[in-house]
Symmetry: C2
Subunit: 407 residues, 2 copies
């Protein structure tokens, strides 16, 4: 049996925690071949980025990848030493050594293929393989470039390796007990889910639930890898992410409430209301790889309208730069931004077949006196943009309205 286990940065932030992870792996290694994917220790990645920013306002992507990849490489070697100390044969592998070949794209390369020859050899020789997560290489030659898979990329590494090895289990260990109906720090009645579908998890992750990276879930769905999300600090059961099964039909159509305050609203003020304007704006943003969410366009007055939309907070500066010239081209009066907004979302595959959930959501928010600034929906999600100051109230009201405290 092959088990892939991923441990996040908070699970290996100190040598004591590394030893703890080693003990957990040793336990699994008694009855399985183990592939461990490891993130950089604690805040290493952020610390490295901070040093890079001291030297360059816009660090070159290739160099940034090379810098950041050292965090996982170091962690993989250290965890391997800890395993040796416990008498467990183990070997660390960089992304390149594990055969993770990616696009030649810096800072968020996609995996093209996995050549697990060396990884299989190491497993077959009885060793635990400790893989530096979050990274790959552009070719199978020593002179190829080191790439990274973007934030949360270690999750992607784990699921991709599980798929390539046809592993029996893929386990993502983190600092929470699993996927909850909502953020338990906000709503004490939040309930841990035993299972959740890929689709629901994708919506949860996309709307602010930080427990696992979307790309990993996507990949899991694509290759049908069931992913267990669990806590590295205890032995509670965790949440299994898998394809939707018929029994899910009878449960609560809503699975969870997500919230995301890392969002900013941009408004193009007094835009001449003529065809092609929206294309000019959103095409420019798409060209620069900026994802746009909740779009709101007012009714036109005197031939002028306001266009608002949200972007992820880290994309705000880039979006402003992108739109500088667009504002002039389309003849808008100005571009204003607002960071004091947040998104709250109701998510569940049952939403698809149950009309009326949107109305229920709006009602719950309005009964708390929370103003809705914008709305976006998917097949299984309804998202409202609200004032950031009301996030907690909104989450609690929605959790209650949809009776998520009940199993």
């Amino acid at each position: 049996m092959i088990v892939v286990q991923k441990y996040g940065g908070s699970s290996v932030s100190t040598t004591e925690k590394i030893r703890n992870v080693a003990r957990r792996i040793a336990e699994t290694a008694k009855h399985s071949q183990v592939v461990t994917v490891i993130s950089a220790m604690g805040d290493t990645t952020d610390d490295l980025i901070a040093i890079a920013k001291e030297l360059s306002t816009m660090p070159d992507g290739r160099e940034l990848d090379k810098l950041l990849a050292t965090g996982e490489q170091a962690a993989s070697a250290l965890l391997t030493m800890a395993l040796h100390t416990q008498g467990i044969p183990a070997v660390s592998l960089t992304g390149g050594q594990a055969g993770i070949i990616t696009e030649k794209v810096a800072t968020k390369a996609r995996i093209l293929k996995i050549d697990p020859r060396r990884l299989r050899e190491e497993l077959n020789s009885g060793k635990v393989a400790v893989i530096a997560g979050f990274q790959g290489i552009t070719d199978n030659a020593s002179w190829a470039d080191i790439t990274t898979l973007g934030r949360g990329g270690s999750d992607t590494t784990a699921v991709a390796l599980a798929a390539a090895l046809r592993a029996d289990k893929c386990e993502i260990y983190t600092d929470v007990d699993g996927v909850f109906t909502t953020d338990p720090r906000i709503e004490p009645n939040a309930r841990k889910l035993e299972s959740i579908s890929y689709e629901e998890m994708l919506e949860m992750a996309g709307q602010g639930a930080r427990v696992i990276h979307s790309r990993a879930v996507d990949l899991g769905e694509l290759y049908n890898v069931q992913i267990l999300v669990a806590n590295s600090a205890n032995t509670t059961q965790g949440t299994l992410i898998k394809e939707e099964d018929p029994s899910m039909e009878v449960r609560n159509p809503v699975r969870g409430i997500a919230h995301d305050a890392d969002v900013a609203r941009l408004t193009l003020v007094s835009v001449p209301d003529r065809p092609g304007i929206a294309y000019q704006v959103f095409h420019a943003l798409a060209q620069d790889n900026i994802n746009v969410d909740i779009i709101v366009q007012n009714v036109s007055q005197a031939g002028l309208t306001d266009v608002s939309f949200t972007v992820a907070l880290p994309d705000l500066e880039k979006a402003k730069r992108t739109l500088e010239s667009v504002v002039k081209e389309i003849g808008a009066r100005e571009l204003i931004t607002d960071q004091n907004v947040a998104k709250v979302s109701v998510i569940g595959s049952g939403i698809r077949s149950h009309p009326g959930y949107a109305a229920k959501m709006f009602g719950a928010l309005s009964s708390e006196g929370i103003n809705i600034l914008g709305i976006a929906t998917s097949e299984i999600r309804i998202t409202c943009l609200i004032d950031q100051d009301y996030v907690k109230e909104a989450v609690r009201a929605l959790h209650k309205a949809f009776q998520l405290e009940k199993a």
Copy 2:
């Protein structure tokens, strides 16, 4: 013209110092192709070793190499970013990317060959190449292992690349102005040497002068690469290490006084004096890769003798372990150790042709009341083992006796 420049860890210990190094490189890049070899920032290597030791008393060599190699990889990416900020096209390369292929030996691998294809490409495209020093790879495949060249290995990287590229200059920048007649912190009259022969530099480095790593000098001699040692913090001229030239004949036959307190003496007490004993002792040590220096054997009394020798201080524990069983086999009474010793050496290629220098050295020490505990000589060096408490007095007395303050 190709110039290889190596900057040590103390030259890049802060982002401000990295910017300073970038400015120096930018200056050289105006008129030359530049290959920069970089060490890890400041105390990074020691810090990483400390973390490893928290996890394992004897960290696996392969894993340690992988851990330590991250220090230089990170520094190379950061320096490259700093060069970009100055408008200099630059690219960082790991040892593997630079084509440095080594033995499959951990922690002190020797370079087998250099395949500088990618390095040449980058140079020819007009970029400064920033190489992570101190490291290589065991094969030109992405799954090959990362190795390190041992302490001071970045010097070796620089000289090896200079040889492979047939570079016009090889410059080692450090935190001192060059090679001095002796340690200026001990003897204020110490004089910087304009040049020194490979052979002399090897003896100086081997006997405690920390300015450049012996293997780099060795390699320089082998491939006839002239090596300039200079200060990264100023523009003083430095010392050129090169082959001995005829003009050296007329200068002072002695070039410098070295001292080394990182040494320990081991004594096998009451060893039965029969043939083969020395072989058993020193063969065991050689098998474990422990270099032995000054060997002293007393005149035998009643068939018993004492055998003393010195090892480098970091090898002491290993030497003790190695000799545990040997002590029993040869029937010695016990093994005792003394760390309170030091070596002082008089070095110069003129020693070879000028008899009487040993006597002069012993005389200078005895007139200071310093007891000689052991003696070792090479063709161009005389070394005495003394009490560590008298190192400064010994260095000053010898510097004066051999008139090294005079040009």
